[in-house]
Amino acid sequence: MSAPPTNPSKSWTVKVREKGVEALPPERLLPDGQPTYVASWIYVFGVASIASLIVIIGSGCILALKGPAWWHFTGVGHFFNSIHMWSVELFFFAMVVHLWGKYWMASWRGGRGRVWVTGAITFLVAVPAALTGYVSQQNFDAQWISTQAKDGLNSVGVGAFFNVTNFGQMYSYHILLLPIAVVGLVSAHVLLVRRNGVVPPFEIDTKKAAIAATSPDRGGPPPPPPSTATGAQS
């Protein structure tokens, strides 16, 4: 005999689902069209940042599978370490260009402040994520960088609980705690972009300033109907 179904109005699951779908209906989460103004090379750097992060995590997983010393004594290990290092460089390069681009677009406009904030915090969290990698290398770089970095961190008390000369602690931060934080922040950032849409050009402000004063809708753009997403290149 099966148990009676939970009252939908009291179900936490139903509430979370309804809130989720309301905030991000599928066609907005995974759109098949985008505003015509999204036509510049600068937009490439956002997805390039995410793509770099995927390559970082992929190469990092391979390095983690074989252990932290593997790359020192095998050619294959060194190859994947090099991919890991260069994808980190590409990640920061793409992220910095992306951030500058978004600054000059004033991409926080139209209720998108949280999009900027999550992006900026991602950059700040990515810095210690990279630093912990540098001090976990088990080579001269790690020795030098850890003995130099300790002074700045100790001076503000951070060294009391974040010891850059403790390889075990740094390795844990590098392969687990900080990647989780970065991926979580990037996920939140992307979901906020999907929810609010890509910030429109300044021109929109000028043309529709009058409407702005009266329009109650300050949310993101409506999800693009598939029927309007064809042949609309301007």
Partner: protein, 329 residues
């Protein structure tokens, strides 16, 4: 409109949409970035300069090792005088009334005399003369210990200064580079001479770094704080770093060994160390960290900072970014 929420008349887009395949774009981007990373790997590889060891240090720079070890014993080394989080021998850095280093306390206690010299020597087997010297040293009053260790450290420090300033070397210290042995003529050093000679031998045998790592008694260890701090008190790491352009005045740790890009995203952090008043300040680290903390907070809060959040409107770089849109409309 408020101070934090300036007038914002940005409207949701009601214009046209163009076809867009988000998943396809992401897959292509991963492919391109992956290929780029492989290409950079094939072209440039990545650096992996072998780590230095205490054994290497005591062989290559025996006098420097002996000087550093003597300073650890008489507790005048950088680590001995560091303060928190290693000991209470200093207050650490501060900025005005802010003493965060002191406030967070000693979390990784290190007694340089005991941890870097005496305890490792106590692990040396079958050396009655050494163990007798260690026992004599440990049993002596603090004042006597200080006199012995200072008497031994003084000629080494004079030797070190003479080497640094390229002056005539004092006759009280002689170094045999072929064997890496250091002979110190120090009167009134008590048992310290025997102890330090044994420490040099222990270091050269490779036993000291292992002893420092496992000094907590645990078989499995991942904490290299003690050997790293001991080595940082000497000159080997700095000597290598200088040759590899990694010193603080060479923009320090944002660089990487070889000609690799390192961590260029730390440029602003490293910049402050190159300019006054930070450059010559004894509290440079805490001041730079506080400045970076404020700048980081400002960076996150850019949308809410008057003036900074209006700058993109006033400097029309956006016309370049959206030139296709403006041309079409």
């Amino acid at each position: 409109m408020s101070f934090l929420r300036p007038k914002d008349d940005t409207q949701p887009w009601k214009g046209r949409y163009q076809p867009y395949d988000l998943i396809k774009e992401l897959c292509i981007a991963v492919g391109v970035i992956g290929l780029l990373a492989v290409a950079l790997t094939v072209l440039f590889s990545s650096p992996d300069d072998k780590s230095s060891t205490i054994s290497q240090w005591s062989h290559e720079l025996p006098a420097d090792f002996a000087t550093a070890a003597a300073k650890e014993l008489d507790e005048t080394s950088d680590t001995a005088a560091y303060g928190p989080p290693y000991n209470h021998n200093g207050e650490g850095q501060h900025a005005a009334f802010l003493y965060p280093q002191k406030w967070l306390g000693v979390s990784h206690p290190i007694n340089t005399a005991a941890d870097f010299v005496i305890k490792p020597l106590e692990t040396v087997p079958n050396d009655a003369a050494l163990q007798s010297a260690v026992a004599e040293y440990k049993a002596a009053p603090e004042k006597q210990k200080k006199e012995w260790s200072e008497a031994y450290a003084k000629p080494l420090e004079e030797y070190s200064t003479a080497v640094e300033e390229k002056k005539t070397l004092p006759s009280t210290v002689s170094v045999d580079p072929s064997t890496g042995t250091v002979t110190v003529k120090a009167s009134g050093a008590g048992p310290v001479g025997t102890m330090m000679t044994s420490l040099q031998s222990l270091a050269q045998s490779g036993g000291l770094e292992g002893g420092l790592v496992t000094s907590s008694g645990q078989f499995f260890q991942t904490d290299y704080t003690k050997p790293l701090l001991f080595m940082a008190d000497g000159g080997l790491l700095a000597k290598r770093a200088e040759g590899l352009h990694l010193l603080g005045e060479q923009w320090g740790m944002m660089n990487e060994t070889g000609s690799f890009p390192g961590q260029p995203w730390l440029w602003l952090y490293a910049l402050w160390y190159q300019v006054e008043p930070f450059k010559s300040s004894e509290n440079a680290d805490v001041l730079v960290m506080l400045v970076m903390g404020v700048l980081s907070l400002a960076f996150v809060c850019i949308p809410f900072i008057p003036g900074i959040n209006r700058l993109p409107r006033k400097i029309p770089i956006y016309k370049l970014i959206w030139r296709e849109h403006y041309r079409a409309s």
